[in-house]
């Protein structure tokens, strides 16, 4: 009679989860004042911060308007799309 021995090893690994970026893209339709208003309403930013991000969208073509946990990022992207802003999600590098 032969016996088969099974050896089980376990290994723990911990890694920092990378944050997700919510990115708003420029388009020729959405008005600058509206984009500012939506960033204030959806993300709770003060007017000056929202306006600075809107200007970045306008001048650079896009802006990371929020970074953090995936579920929150998805929630914010959903809200921004509901306000008809072209919004994407990307994992930070």
């Amino acid at each position: 009679m032969t016996a088969t021995e099974t050896i089980t090893t376990t290994r723990d690994a911990t890694a920092i989860d990378l944050p997700w970026n919510v990115v708003v893209h420029d388009d020729p339709v959405n008005l600058m004042g509206y984009v500012t208003l939506v960033l204030m309403k959806v993300l709770g930013y003060p007017e000056q911060q929202a306006m600075a991000l809107m200007m970045e969208v306008h001048q650079a073509g896009k802006s990371v308007v929020w970074s953090g946990q995936r579920e929150r990022a998805e929630f914010h992207a959903h809200q921004l799309q509901a306000h008809q802003l072209k919004t994407t999600l990307e994992k930070s590098r």
Partner: protein
């Protein structure tokens, strides 16, 4: 057509003839004039495969319902104002509470016209150079934009 701000923070639109009703009523037709809905267009490029499938399955249908509801609300307001009008002249009030719905409907129309005609920045467009098939949609988009600006200035701040 005359559009003026009201004391309670809304807008009052005065229609003078049939063409005025047709002009503003065009927002509903323009908003749904593309093969792909706005929700599909917004959802198509949300991100990589990690999120795209869930987005298309769960978020896009919800956006679609929300955009359709916004258009239906504006359509009902226009229809009701038209019924109340004496002859062709009539009025429509956009209350402050409804301003975002109106803005959204006008935006849907403009985004859809842009998707179809690719006008780009309006500052770079010379109306005289546009063929008639693109001139009319461009001018409608500019009109919707003017109403949006009034809404932003007087009813949404």
């Amino acid at each position: 057509m005359k559009i003026m701000p009201t004391l309670d923070g809304g807008l009052r639109i005065e229609f003078e003839d049939e063409s005025d009703w047709r002009l503003l009523g065009g927002v509903i037709d323009d908003a749904v004039s593309c093969d792909r809905t706005l929700a599909e267009r917004l959802g198509a490029s949300v991100g990589g495969p990690e999120v795209a499938d869930d987005w298309l399955e769960f978020v896009v249908p919800e956006l679609e319902r929300s955009f359709e509801a916004g258009l239906a609300r504006v359509g009902r307001a226009l229809k009701s104002a038209r019924l109340d009008a004496a002859g062709v002249a009539g009025f429509l009030w956009i209350r402050r509470a409804d301003a975002l719905h109106w803005y959204g409907a006008l935006n849907q129309a403009r985004l859809t016209l842009e998707e179809i005609h690719r006008f780009g920045s309006s500052e770079d467009v010379d109306v005289e150079d546009l063929p008639p098939s693109r001139r009319a949609p461009f001018l409608r988009s500019q009109f919707y934009c003017a109403v949006q600006s009034l809404l932003l200035e007087h009813a949404m701040g």
